[in-house]
Amino acid sequence: MLIFEHSRKGRRNYSQSPATTASKSQIPQNLLRKSPVLLPEVSEMDTVRHYTRLSQKNFSIDTEFYPLGSCTMKYNPRACNSLAMLPQFLSRHPLAPEDTGQGFLACLYELQEILKSVTGMAGVSLTPMAGAQGELIGVMMIRAYHESRGDFARTEIIVPDAAHGTNPATAVMCGFKVVEIATDKDGNVDLNALKAAVGPQTAGLMLTNPSTLGVFEKNVAEMSRVVHQAGGLLYYDGANLNAVLGKVKPGDMGFDVIHINLHKTFSTPHGGGGPGSAPVGVAERLLPFMPIPIVTKEGDAYRWVTEKDKPQSIGRLSAHMGNAGVLLRAYIYVRLLGMDGMHRISEFATLNANYLMAELRKAGFEIAYPNRRASHEFIVTLKDIKDKTGVTAMNLAKRLLDKGYHAPTTYFPLLVPECLLIEPAETESKETLDAFVKSMKEILQEIEQQPDMVKGAPHTMPVRKLDDVKAARELDLAWKSPA
């Protein structure tokens, strides 16, 4: 039932908006609204019940294991939320003077410094509001760098075929042509393909390491040499930073610009699809082009770095300071973890992934790259199962929902057929992983004995398999009042 269907004309909550309608008005008649606003007329209790019930139709980290590859669904500590929502932080206007926000600015400044330290970059800007925006800003800085040197011939961005869809989409949004390069049989970027692709037209290479195939690019140092020798820059997509945090710094691998998904590695909530946050880090030569605002410290005081300080900045990409409240949550998280907590993240994320991979292999699942260590994630392929039984990776994913697990990432990366990308974050216990393996074994049996039942999954969710084709053909995107 939609909230609109609970609506009754004339019902309202009296204590939450002004008691009377102000009569004073200067709005010209011709600008006044004539059509009604179709908001529901419901009581506070109706609203609370309706949205509480809706929440119960969601899977979430707080209720289920969420082995969603490349998304790093780790526990979101409660303290990060409650302390970021202290009333002084919530009530502060973004354009309030700097001296009324020294506590807030101190947190941001220290977060910048900590992120610089763990990534080995020379500067960090916290403004990007999501991974895709971090990418956009990173690629804009690459362009600004080349153009500042009078080099306008660099029109191509190289992207491995295993990359997230945002990488090529970002390059195009920045006005670049995308050159895709292949992956070799062990899951590494094909070095020869890279060597053949670079040239005076190369603006840069976007790379995720460990890659979305769940393996570490062993040749990253050589790739860095190849791209730099051709005059290009290296972009690090930090989607998988959780796998190497405190172990390897992108700066040491030769990257010139990176983004860090705080909603993955630094445990800020995914919120049903945002808000994310993706600070960018840069090497020395890109410092002048960083997006503003940035926080700087002078003596004991913190202030914003603006256009005046950075005349070559690529500019502003949000109305204020990015997703400020998300930054506070990440700051609280890194302070709780501290120095030792950083490398423990990657160690236990890697332990969990390799353990789960070993157990699933023993259970009879085919691992896509069996001769490689898993990073914090790995790929199971159901190609053989599909060939024999017709059961697909998506069928298995939906059946996992019935067993009380969120599905792994399916059909990504695109180059492994019938794939499940599985990432058990470090916050999951061995018992959870063991129970997941048990359910996966049960599904294997079900595939043999009752393939049609598996193909019809899910069976226990609030709805059964939904008709995507109908949704796209008979577009119903907004409720309309029955006349």
Binding site: L2, E44, P87, D252, G274, S318, G322, L336, F412
Partner: protein
């Protein structure tokens, strides 16, 4: 180990299963020369008690003020239920709803949000949100250029939020799209349709129309929309969602209505919180829906013909189309939209109308009181909504500094943005201000200027 549940016994058993002796061994594919030293730049970990002390101390430094700043972010009362429900773990810690059957809560909520925003803006469809108002406007500009096909020029009046104009420029210039700024009438604070009619602007993809504009002044939206359409260009409305309870929605501007409506969603239940996270909204006419960026939720049915909700029109998006996507955007601002949807449900149509009317009336009252002070005067004659630009008889920065000492954040100094306007202050009074607050502000300003 904070947030890591493994016991020593677990670690041993897991390593045995893997066939490794140590956790270190699991990193043996990383070349040795790349491994990091200790992270000296990270302080040692704090307990929850210690971080609580630290954050309370930091928050205490920031304190509380009587806020009269608007300029794109507005203080409104947020009902208690909004964030209590929004921060339930099932909303807070869930992922993008790719697995529709396990995400019906978020998906239905987003469908309800889309319905509310479509109605509020007078448009056919809304997406599930963008990052913020500024980036929503930039994406609307890109969308207009994609749909227009012949022109790569966008007209933006200088009455649009100055930072929005910067953001639009930063984003669209990557695609060689030209942004042309239109001057405003310095007497009325509006874009004059008659001066546009006399201009020689012919070849452009869209005209951006703010309502109310950055100065709080109401634009002549009908004439502006019709002028854009007469030039075969799209009309993009940038609107304040609270104001739409009182004002003609963009979908009804002029004879055909604007084509795209965007804006900052923060006034709908999102705290000011130093600038974010907020959310941008975007709605459009149905013939443009396939050019719209971002997540869109559709209502459909399941195998038993039962109603359900899914992400739809995904063929526009980066995870399917990669380099051919309408935008690189991946997320929306899901949790913020959750709060906004609950806010709009609690407030209802009458509540929103009262909030808008009270904010309008409070600002008129404040302006009346302030104009009684010698040398203080509205700079523009155009009608206003809940914000006003005032000329002061002294440099605004100095005046604001004195007000701050009395616990009042008196507004925004427009000098850095519009130096040609001299000592101009932008001030806003929403429904959160009482008559006593307004009087206190007026008395304090009078004192500061004497």
């Amino acid at each position: 180990m904070p947030f890591i549940p493994h016991t020593e016994e677990d670690i041993t058993e897991m390593l045995t299963s893997i066939g490794a002796k140590t956790i270190e061994e699991l990193f043996d594919e990383i070349p040795k020369e790349l491994l990091s030293d200790e992270l000296t730049g990270v302080p040692v970990g704090l307990s929850e008690m210690e971080i609580t002390r630290l954050m309370l101390d930091r928050a205490g430094k920031d304190g509380f003020y009587h806020n009269f700043i608007g300029a794109g972010a507005y203080e409104h009362h947020i009902p208690a239920a909004v964030w209590q429900i929004t921060t339930r773990g099932e909303f807070y810690s869930s992922y993008t709803p790719y697995q529709a059957e396990a995400s019906q809560g978020t998906l239905q909520l987003l469908y309800e949000y889309q319905s509310m925003m479509a109605s509020l803006t007078g448009m056919d469809v809304s997406n599930a949100s963008m990052y913020d108002g500024a980036t929503a406007l930039a994406e609307a500009a890109l969308m207009a250029v994609r749909s227009h096909k012949t022109s790569r020029r966008i007209l933006i009046p200088q009455t649009v939020h100055p930072v929005y104009r910067q953001v639009v420029r930063a984003i669209v210039s990557n695609q060689k799209i030209e942004v042309v700024e239109l001057p405003f009438c310095t007497e009325c604070g509006q874009i004059l349709p008659e001066s546009l009619a006399k201009s020689n602007h012919e070849d452009f993809a869209a005209l951006v129309i703010p309502q109310p504009n950055f100065f709080g002044v109401l634009e002549q939206v009908d004439a502006l929309t019709d002028w854009a359409h007469s030039k075969n260009a799209f009309a993009i409305g940038v609107v304040n969602p609270t104001a739409l309870a009182l004002l003609t929605p963009p979908g009804e501007w002029g004879s055909k209505g604007a084509d795209i409506a965007v804006g900052e969603g923060q006034p709908l239940g999102i705290p000011l919180s130093s600038g974010g996270p907020y959310f941008g909204f975007m709605a459009c006419k149905s013939d443009l829906v396939r050019q719209m960026p971002g997540r869109i939720i559709g209502r459909t049915t399941d195998l038993d013909n039962k109603e359900g909700f899914v992400l739809t029109l995904q063929a526009r998006e980066q995870h399917i189309r990669r380099s051919k996507a309408t935008s690189n955007i991946c997320t929306n601002q899901g949790l913020m939209v959750t709060a906004a949807t609950i806010y709009m449900s609690l407030i209802g149509p009458e509540g929103l109308r009262r909030i808008a009317a009270q904010s309008h009336a409070n600002t008129l009252d404040l302006v009346d009181q302030l104009e009684k002070i010698k040398g203080v005067k509205r700079i523009f004659s155009g009608p206003l909504f809940h914000e006003a630009a005032l000329i002061l008889p002294a440099p605004v920065a100095e005046v604001l500094s004195k007000l701050k000492q009395k616990g009042i954040l008196g507004g925004l100094d427009l000098h850095p943005y519009y130096p040609e306007l001299g000592n101009t202050l932008l001030v806003c009074a929403t429904e959160t201000k009482t008559a006593a607050d307004l009087q206190n502000y007026a008395e304090t300003l009078k004192h500061a200027l004497s």
